[in-house]
């Protein structure tokens, strides 16, 4: 039995080697199909991973409270009233499930230091921001209590701002001009990189909320956004509901009025985004799978043609004493070897394409053994299915008929 298999393998390999060009064209479809499936799935996985990574870098268990209706068509945030500092206090005291409550006011402002200038997002907030936003201080320190209370002109800058304004040396203790006032730099944030929507999270300057309110927005009471961090192990939904009720109460909304604010759960956003990407990945993978199937049909075609072409050869083999199942086995092995070879080349090609593309798109490259194995097995199965039919036709020919075939 093993001897027979080895023989058939030898015969099949000889046949492949004899028709190198035809063999190459046969496997091309499978190569492209397998490569396409693996590339799509690998890139999709990378994208999903990247998005969830970036969102979790926003802060774990982060809720964002903003004025205006829920995101979506017809959303109106301009008309809705801002939150007040009293709201911040109320949430802080009445929602015990929150670890940190950071009020945020901000605007886009031009910064000047020496002869450099740079436009950046300037946020007024509190030390709670570091907890809620999952920020670490790379150098310097957080705000002092008296700085927050008095609204002193101190600030902590992000990595991008540091790079643009202070390319050399430590900026701690230096001054930066924010709009029309000078601000002492007391700290430097650790870099986070690109955000989920592609924005630069490090292009930011933080200062005490009072400072920002007085000197930038000019409104000493308004808070535009609240970043709320949940305690570990607390479910987001009941807390969101509690905050919603509290805010409706404080904003004196009547029973049937819509919310004029919204609470978002970043985890939920992450899941929605990842879900979307997974769907896209599945869709693209399905398209790629169709191409793999087409590749298989290509193999079947070539096998059919090659049987016709090789009918005389089959006649010769049968005449010199080959048994029907030996010819069958030879053709089958030929088909499986070809498609498995195509699968292997496809995997290598996909690996190469994925490495190039992930490097180009700054995505993590996640090798997925499952899909590689699946694509390989599928290509092998294509060989068996599409190789078997023409092989059976070839082997069942009468030697005399096959020999006389023109």
């Amino acid at each position: 039995m093993t001897q027979m298999l080895l023989n058939a393998l030898l015969l099949a390999l000889r046949a492949i080697r004899r028709n190198l060009m035809r063999s190459f064209l046969t496997v091309l479809g499978v190569v492209i199909g397998v490569a396409a499936v693996i590339t799509m799935v690998t890139l999709g996985n990378g994208a999903t991973h990247m998005v969830s990574d970036q969102i979790s870098s926003l802060g774990s268990n982060l809720l964002i409270l903003r004025p205006g209706q829920q995101l979506g068509p017809g959303r109106d945030s301009a008309g809705a009233a801002s939150f007040k500092l009293a709201d911040v206090e109320a949430i802080q005291t009445q929602v015990p499930a929150l670890k940190a409550v950071a009020p945020v006011v901000g605007s886009k402002v031009t910064l000047v230091a020496g002869n450099q200038n740079w436009q950046s997002q300037v946020n007024g907030t509190s030390n709670a921001y570091f907890v809620a936003g999952n920020w670490n201080i790379a150098a310097g320190r957080q705000f002092e209590e008296d700085e927050e209370a008095a609204g002193k002109a101190v600030c902590i800058i992000g990595a991008t701002v540091k790079r643009q304004l202070f390319p050399k040396g430590s900026p701690i203790g230096d001054e930066v001009r924010v709009k029309n006032f000078s601000c002492e730099i007391i700290g430097l944030l650790q870099g986070k990189g690109q955000g989920a929507m592609g924005q630069d999270q490090d292009d930011v300057v933080l200062m005490p909320i009072r400072t920002a309110q007085r000197r930038l927005t000019g409104n000493v009471n308004d808070v535009s956004t609240l970043m709320l961090s949940l305690r570990d192990g607390v479910a987001a939904d009941p807390v969101m509901e509690q905050i919603r009720k509290l805010m409706r109460e404080r904003r004196r909304l009547s029973e049937n009025a819509d919310d004029d604010f919204n609470v978002m759960d970043t985890k939920q956003i992450a899941e929605t985004l990842s879900g979307t990407i997974r769907t896209m990945t599945g869709l693209l993978g399905a398209v790629a799978a169709v191409s793999l199937l087409v590749g298989g049909i290509g193999i079947m075609n070539i096998m059919l043609v090659s049987v016709t072409e090789r009918t005389r050869e089959i006649g010769i083999r049968l005449a010199i004493g080959a048994l029907e199942h030996e010819v069958l086995l030879q053709f089958l092995i030929e088909a499986v070897a070809l498609s498995a070879l195509g699968g292997l080349i496809g995997i290598v090609l996909a690996l190469f394409v994925c490495l190039c593309l992930t490097a180009l798109m700054h995505m993590p490259f996640l090798f997925n053994p499952g899909i590689n194995l699946l694509a390989f097995l599928f290509s092998g199965a294509i060989g068996i299915v599409f190789g078997y039919m023409p092989a059976r036709r070839a082997a069942s020919l009468d030697p005399i008929v096959a020999l006389r075939f023109e």
Binding site: I316, A322, E324, L403
Partner: protein
């Protein structure tokens, strides 16, 4: 075992098609061929000579009648058993050479040994030896496209004899060759018959080729018209007569077959 008669056909008929379209190619053939004979089958086209050769070569099954090969009732064998009979006892040479294209002479000759499951070293040696026998030493790695017609037919003969068959069946082996190459091939077949005792059955329509045989069977319209034996046209290279050689030759001594590593699991010995 009957050492004299290797092949016996009794009332063999072959009908192609059915009903009104039926055509009876063979109408009742009786033929005995002794081991070691060189038989030429002649006749006009349509006389059934090729059909008879296909039946003798177990490539085709008769419609009725009895075919005994070494007393094995061939007509009762299955498709696979007939294939095994071809594998172990028969060699074929065709008019159109029927070599595998893009395949070296060496590999073409090795092919029957592959189906016998021979070891690769033994395969190479046997193929080289067979090619040497047909005078093609040095041409082992040429593909059919790189060989002349005569050389291709020599490769085909090497492929047929590499398994040391009992019978060599040749269907118009010189049909595609010019007269001089044809005579070279005939000399080769004669030598194989004389020196190795291989029974040769050849279909031809050229009387000058049939001249090489020591027995000429003429077919007309599906019948055997005449069966004439004659003296060999040239003295045999061995002092033994055909009958004696058969008795001493390796055809009926299984030793050589076993020494050749051949699986003697023939279709007649289930």
């Amino acid at each position: 075992m009957n050492t004299g008669t290797l092949i016996s056909l009794r009332a063999i008929t072959k009908t192609y098609g059915e009903g009104v379209a039926a055509f009876q190619a063979l109408k009742g053939i009786d033929l005995d061929i002794a081991a070691g004979q060189f038989v030429a089958i002649m006749g006009p086209s349509g006389s059934g000579k090729s059909t008879a050769l296909n039946i003798l070569g177990c490539l085709d099954a008769p419609t009725s009648g009895a075919y005994g090969f070494r007393d094995i009732p061939v007509e009762a064998l299955t498709r696979n058993q007939r294939a095994l009979l071809r594998r172990h006892y028969l060699g074929f040479v065709f008019q159109g050479f029927n070599l595998l294209s893009r395949t070296s002479a060496q590999e073409n000759v090795e092919l029957p040994l592959l189906y016998r499951g021979a070891e690769s070293a033994q395969r190479h040696a046997a193929a080289r030896e067979a090619l040497a026998q047909v005078g093609l030493t040095g041409w082992e790695h040429h593909t059919p496209a790189e060989l002349s017609g005569g050389q291709q037919q020599r490769v085909a003969i090497a492929r047929a004899i590499v398994t040391r068959p009992l019978v060599l069946l040749a269907d118009e082996p010189t049909g595609n060759l010019d007269s001089q190459r044809g005579h070279e091939i005939m000399d080769l077949l004669t030598a194989l018959n004389r020196e190795q005792g291989i029974t040769v059955i050849m279909v031809t329509h050229e009387p000058e080729m049939a001249h090489y045989a020591d027995r000429v069977v003429k077919f007309v319209d599906g019948w055997v018209e005449s069966d004439s034996r004659k003296e060999r046209h040239s003295p045999p290279t061995l002092p033994l007569s055909g009958e004696e050689r058969t008795q001493h030759g390796r055809c009926d001594t299984p030793l050589t077959r076993e020494a050749g590593g051949v699986n003697e699991r023939g279709p007649g010995t289930p």
